[in-house]
Symmetry: D2
Subunit: 148 residues, 4 copies
């Protein structure tokens, strides 16, 4: 009964990023593939935030990996050299054997730079074997919820 | 009447790529943001194939740029260090002020690595002015068609 | 006489960096070309620290650029995924028409990761002209000194 | 006596590279850290050329790795978007437990873009142990010589 009273919301990981000289293309704005570097880092940072460093992941879930299945981003405003931004990441959907991470990229002045998602599979990837998707354990999912 | 008899198909640009040591993540497979580097190059290579080098683009369409609006990729098979691949790119849709480039990434042995698209706007980007989308000229579109 | 009493030392710019998943090669340690991304950013960050944003640089020294002439790094300890580091950068030598920036990369636990330098020329790079090195103005150099 | 009659020279690996949009910085020329991506690939390509794919390396020299010790490049001419180049790599010095690879980067029109070297150690890197340099076997060195 009391459990029902505890509202939960997704854990959000935040990552600071700045646009460097080498991130910019000849048009002087960020080269868009770098945003995918940022959101990939956003996912790993979300796992860090949930207490799952690479060592912990390996120890708790040996041989498991989370390869990318698909990803997409929409771009709103350009980011020039020197711009500061924040990547906000959370799991927006847990499927049976895959999950979708939502990423929102916001410029220092509050302007939206881009938003989208990554879908990743939860797979067993033992050396020498074929990768095979497996059900995502509840113990993993529960780490990504916090009191609302 | 005779024009109707000439079947046309999209011009396809092809780009050879190989997976280098630095393209691979600790799992030993290609780090997925690199695929976006490849497809961005695929679009520029398609323009090259159509005769539109950066110099020609600037000369024929001064102050015009084609910033990314959105992009997505689905991933099929992993590519390890040393793998060779081909990026095949063509315009799959011409909108009024934007266009969508389809990209297919195929491993040397024929296995599909990934596929997806980029949507880009056709914008006037004069220095010091706000970017504004403009209708894509027929002269541009016609370069991307070849006899079927 | 009084000037002689004011000891000066080089301004040091510091930049925080963390090793992301995509920075690591299949051996699980940072892919070394990324260190050059870091030190290039270190130089631009040093200019920021000296008050020279890209806008200020363009305004105060129009058409001037500072292309790389040579660079070298020595590597001391590996940095795995998740490692945090600091890049410390300062001008260690002002030549007539070039300057050398020293970079030291230190891991969060104090271990030295790498050290080296970039030599850059001070050149006039007006559009359409050949680049030509010019004497570095005293007004520029003086920004990179602080009381010892 | 007869051995003395066989002149040998270093095996040279060559790697084609093109400057993509995303390789260029806002000045429209190649972002220099990318040259280090190229020369790192040049070393791996040299090993491929010598018949040492990653699989062969692992099979013949298990647990051995060749981490970077130091590297330096000098830059001669800029390379704009669309430029084609070749990276020529060969071992210029075999030390006891380390070796130095020379890299020359030449633009399609023959102009020199850059040149320099990488020094790498030959180390035992068994999982869970500290890396330790070991003497480079003659069997390895002999693969990098060809009749003059």
């Amino acid at each position: 009964m009391r459990d029902a009273a505890i509202a939960l919301k997704p854990l959000v990981g935040t990552l600071a990023r700045d646009v460097t000289w080498g991130d910019c293309d000849p048009a002087g704005i960020i080269y868009y593939p770098n945003y995918f570097r940022w959101i990939d880092s956003g996912t790993w940072n979300l796992f860090f935030t949930a207490g799952l460093t690479p060592e912990r992941l390996r120890a708790e879930y040996p041989d498991m990996d989370m390869p990318i299945v698909s990803t997409q981003l929409e771009f709103a405003n350009p980011a020039p050299f020197g711009a500061r931004a924040e990547v906000r990441s959370y799991v927006e959907h847990w499927g049976g054997k895959s999950f979708r991470v939502r990423h929102e990229i916001v410029r220092g002045d509050g302007a939206k730079l881009g938003a989208g998602s990554e879908t990743r599979a939860w797979v067993r990837a033992a050396p020498g074997s074929v990768m095979r998707a497996e059900p995502i354990p509840e113990s993993l999912k529960s780490r990504f919820l916090v009191p609302a």
